[in-house]
């Protein structure tokens, strides 16, 4: 049974002139990292909102088709169940903070308070998150005074602290420098090892190629391409649908074309070294 399943899902925002998503179907199995790719406005965030149940609980309107989590339609979940099942980090890190907490430690603990977790267990879990996301030096800072990159890391901590089986990360690294971005991807790899299922919206395609199992490429609200990361992200058609290819992949595709070769097309630096050896030349 798939952890996440969308069957012919369509949805239009109440004041929208056209469908934000149309006839979207895909399944994600437990422990998979599934990347949602595509140009801005192609429907990625709408899919995240459908999986989290924000559509239609917060954004009104009537979705068609069916979204199931662990084999159960998402509309049968009550609010608390959804909160515990799906952790969600929002796209815009500037609006992520609750605005009601005075420091980062309390911000991270906020969801645990709402779930009624005991004080001691709460402190331990918050400390673990501060450690995991390297937040020690800002643990006592006011969340509203943080930089975009700092907020983004606090937001991820606030999501992971409740230990949800499904984690939705909508552009979690957009404000982060290369090092912190790598850190977030290492955390995604860790979540995968813990058996969690991850939905990831991300433009940094080189890292997506290295860390995802499955990719769904959206275009104009529809699924343009989908399948294992290796298959989709080495296919030049991705570019025709507003998607991006990893830098190394793009290079080998161009080189093959220019020289009339059929050399293997790697997905990343590591992959190229694996295929061609330490010294390709």
């Amino acid at each position: 049974m798939s952890v996440i399943s969308l069957e012919h899902v369509g949805y239009r925002y109440p004041l929208g002139r056209e469908d934000a998503v149309h006839d979207v179907s895909f399944q994600v199995e437990q422990g998979q990292v599934c990347a949602l790719l595509g140009a801005n406005g192609s429907g990625k965030t709408t899919i995240c909102n459908l999986i989290r149940g924000f559509i239609p609980r917060f954004y009104r309107g009537e979705p068609t088709g069916q979204v199931q989590l662990a084999g159960r339609p998402v509309e049968q979940y009550d609010d608390a169940e959804l909160t515990e099942t799906v952790g969600y980090s929002f796209q815009n890190p500037f609006t992520q903070m609750s605005g009601v907490k005075d420091n980062v430690r309390e911000e991270i603990a906020y969801a645990l308070e709402n779930l009624g977790v005991e004080r001691e267990a709460m402190a331990a879990r918050v400390d673990a998150m501060i450690d995991l996301l390297h937040l020690d030096d800002i643990a006592d800072a006011n969340p509203l005074e943080l930089s975009g990159g700092q907020r983004q890391r606090v937001a991820i901590a606030a999501v992971l602290v409740t230990d949800p089986p499904i984690v939705v990360l909508d552009e979690p690294t957009s404000q982060l420098d290369p090092q912190s971005t790598e850190d977030v991807f290492n955390i995604i790899a860790l979540l995968k090892r813990q058996g969690k299922t991850v939905i990831l919206v991300e433009h940094k395609i080189d890292l997506v190629a290295r860390y995802s199992d499955l990719v769904i490429l959206m275009e104009g609200g529809r699924v343009a391409m989908s399948g294992p990361a290796r298959r989709v992200l080495t296919d030049p058609q991705v570019l025709d649908h507003g998607g991006q290819l990893p830098e190394v992949t793009r290079f080998f595709l161009e080189r093959n074309k220019k020289l009339g070769l059929n050399d293997p097309v790697p997905l990343s630096v590591e992959d190229a070294i694996k295929r061609y050896g330490r010294k390709g030349a």
Binding site: F94, P246, E247, E254, V269, Y276
Partner: protein, 272 residues
């Protein structure tokens, strides 16, 4: 004297936090300069000092021969436009047209001249078709272009873009590259903070590397990405393709064009 000069500039916030130690640099008109470095390295503080949003607590910032200390922020901002990291910090009008026109209206520019300038700035920023939309009808990443147009319309000599590549898709990244090219071709200077190393190597010749609230290096991008010690100190990495080239012993390769020329023109498999 260069158009923009920072002479031993430092900044300490009123609460005592020293956000910038001591930096010196100069920029001529028509240059494209990339500022790179990890979060918290002092990049945003430095550019805010360039446009008068912050005044140095020591040293001085000279714009077109005048110290920013001696002018009010609005005068400096007319010469050096700054596009914030978060577009929502500056957007407040109810249509994109009005948002872009706001600065001109406030400056009492003649009504009949406003329309043309707004249309031009919108066109450059890919917003020609959405002038009548509400800014918040656009996704977050596209609102950034509204703020770039709002800065550009004021015709500053220097345009500062704070992390414009954050969260952008391919089309938007290409659009940004086009904006930088057009603006520098007009003889203006563009200073861009970015974490996207491929973008930086493709579109800039000069780079300023910052770490721990000071400048580590100010020089050609090609030299910056050849310097392992510098990259490590600044917590930066080469673009991915350059990493592969490095692993294969091509130390001077930075772009795909370089790499294409450096590799043998036959299958790499037969060479093993």
């Amino acid at each position: 004297m260069a158009y923009l000069e920072l002479d031993k500039v430092g900044y300490t916030y009123p609460n005592g936090y020293q956000a910038l130690r001591e930096v010196s640099l100069s920029c001529e008109l028509g240059e494209a300069v990339a500022i790179i470095g990890r979060n918290g390295a002092g990049k945003t503080t430095m550019v805010k000092l360039m446009n008068g949003l912050l005044k140095p607590t020591h040293g001085r910032v000279m714009v077109d021969g005048t110290s920013t200390d001696q002018e009010d922020a609005a005068h400096v901002a007319a010469k050096v436009g700054y596009v914030f990291q978060n577009p929502d910090d500056q957007i407040f009008q109810d249509s994109i047209r009005r948002e872009i026109a706001y600065g001109l209206v406030k400056k009492h520019v003649a009504r009949d001249r406003i329309g043309g300038r707004v249309a031009w700035a919108a066109e450059v920023c890919g917003l020609g078709d959405s002038l009548d939309s509400h800014p918040y009808d656009l996704p977050f990443s596209q609102r950034k272009f509204v703020t770039i147009a709002s800065a550009l319309v004021m015709d500053p000599q220097v345009l500062i873009l704070d992390e414009p590549t954050a969260g952008q898709d391919r089309a938007a990244t290409d659009l940004l590259a086009g904006i930088i090219q057009q603006v520098t071709a007009m003889g203006k200077t563009v200073i861009t903070i970015s974490h996207d190393m491929e973008f930086v190597t493709r579109h800039f010749q000069r780079g300023i590397v910052m770490a721990d609230r000071q400048i580590l290096m100010d020089g050609p991008i090609a030299r910056i990405f050849r310097d392992d010690d510098l990259l490590e100190q600044a917590h930066l990495a080469r673009p991915y393709l350059a990493q592969l080239a490095q692993a294969w012993g091509f130390h001077d390769v930075l772009t795909s064009e370089d790499f294409m020329a450096a590799l043998p023109q036959t299958s790499l498999l037969t060479n093993q």
